[in-house]
Symmetry: C2
Subunit: 319 residues, 2 copies
């Protein structure tokens, strides 16, 4: 009898799901669209329909230990998703209760970045670590903070919003309504904004002058940088400086053993990781210098969201 945890990652475009064992092997992974349904009930029916089909096919040799869900604005304490700017449902969704009823198994939900952090602890590079941080660089900047071996949820379930640390007062407009948030500089969107600022400020020739803001991507900027484009190179340096400075301040909070970086922008590899390390070290409080590792996530790219979500169940069962 295999013991498997269901992992569900609800993103703005797709909902990915699969079944993971304690060792991090993922089975029957699949996806449905998050958008395009009449209402939440129609979405939920499609999602549970797909999951039930898989369960029915394998029920003889499989025990479902629980269901973990990672989603934007998901709250561990209440089991609900509410006010998620990137999801189609604006009401408060009691998704943990609904899934527990459907599958008669424990359901734990949290936001996607916290799920990534617990995934790193259960299956990835943070196995055995008690104090570390995961930052996810996608459209925005998400984060999960682990201290004393536990994820920090805060008193309200909404801790670890490092993307919304203010790095420049009167800086760039953020989707949260404020200005100068870290994620307006450090994210796939942030680096595109930086490229456009540099193109505006300088007269440097750049291949990026031929690309519209909407078409510009991290990959395009990376390729230009690898070919020596000065604007592309400077945009990585600018992004790395702001990230390195901000992470140094974060270290002054929880003094982590390591900071794991995950997501689209992190794939730019040495272009972003190496200068970020240098800027972070330069800005660290002397006691911390040389003692904080900045490393890429060790979760496999393809299944990371499902692993993050399913890890909530294994982490809970261990505690």
């Amino acid at each position: 009898m295999r013991r498997l945890a269901i992992g569900i990652d609800i993103g703005g475009t797709n909902t990915k799901f699969g079944f993971a064992d304690r060792q991090g092997n993922v089975f029957y992974n699949n996806r449905i669209q998050t958008t395009g349904h009449k209402d939440f009930e129609a979405y939920f029916k499609e999602l549970t329909g797909e999951l039930n089909k898989t369960i029915d096919e394998h029920e003889k040799d499989t025990e479902i230990v629980g269901i973990g869900v990672g989603a934007p604005n998901a709250n561990l304490f209440t089991g609900t998703i509410s006010n998620a700017a990137n999801l189609p449902w604006k009401q408060t969704i009691p998704i943990a209760d609904l899934l527990e009823k459907e599958f008669n198994a424990k359901c734990i939900i949290t936001n996607d970045a916290n799920a990534a952090a617990i995934g790193e602890m259960v299956y990835g590079g943070a196995v055995g670590m008690n104090d570390f941080i995961v930052i996810t660089l996608g459209t925005g900047l998400g984060s999960g903070i682990v201290a004393n071996g536990k994820i920090i949820n805060g008193h309200d379930g909404y801790a670890a919003e490092l993307g919304h640390v203010t790095v420049k007062y009167a800086g760039r407009q953020c989707g949260c309504g404020r200005k100068g948030c870290l994620e307006t500089y450090v994210s796939a969107t942030g680096i595109r904004r930086t490229v456009y600022k540099l193109l505006a400020d300088s007269t440097e020739p750049s291949t990026l002058r031929g690309i519209s803001f909407n078409e510009l991507s991290t990959e395009t900027i990376s390729e230009a940088a690898l070919e020596g484009d000065p604007v592309a190179l400077e945009s990585f340096d600018y992004t790395a400086r702001i990230l390195g400075q901000s992470l140094a301040n974060t270290c002054a909070h929880t003094s982590p053993e390591a900071i794991f970086v995950f997501g689209g922008l992190a794939k730019a590899g040495d272009l972003i990781m190496e200068p970020t390390k240098i800027y972070m070290e330069e800005n660290l409080y002397p006691f911390y210098k040389g003692n904080v590792k900045l490393i890429p996530s060790k979760l496999p790219d393809e299944n990371a969201p499902i692993l993050g979500a399913s890890s909530l169940i294994w982490n809970y069962r261990n505690n």
Copy 2:
């Protein structure tokens, strides 16, 4: 038989000590000078001599449960004090081992701000809270962060150095060797520096123009502010703005239920607390707005250092 924990607070000038019960009643409190001894051994002999005298006088009705020590740069994990800029001994002192041998009782040490945070949790305003922060405003700015009901020590025992969050790159020189640390603006020393900067920048008449930097104190600045002195008033506003902005960023890390403020500058009361609240609220990520209390410490002033230190024992025994 009374069960008492010894609390020892080692400060740059004085070492305060006393015996506290689980309810926070302090007995036989006393102090010796931290400085003026030939070496650490001579200091330790005087300290333990005083403590043993008290124990001998009361041994019939008293059980010593343990010894808690709060000191700058004290490390919970190693039980040592090392590189403390404000203490006379520059070598690494294994003070926990030495005290355990002397008194045959458990000894726990941590830095003074972490001790203040645990004191707040055991005896003060944070009883029953799982997520809160204490900041101590003295010569510098110290802090202790509690999440999930536990103090955050980080992987190395040196977490929660909020006084060394960088708030202005290329800002004021800090004792730590870097520039722009929070405590160069927000502390008893920081507000004096701000007064001098404002006196330099403006032509406003101010009673503070008659006072040397060395003679200037938080009390003097408070008195001037209460009499309407524009420079004194602006210095509080400036200090509160930087503190409020920085605390808003700290909330994006651990989402605390409350932030307790303790120490000399906090005694300026509404002059500092009210504007800090306003600036913090203005800068909070929308999810946190209205949900973080900023309040004075509830530990009694006189015995707070002894209570903080002794609370380490009661907190440990509970866990």
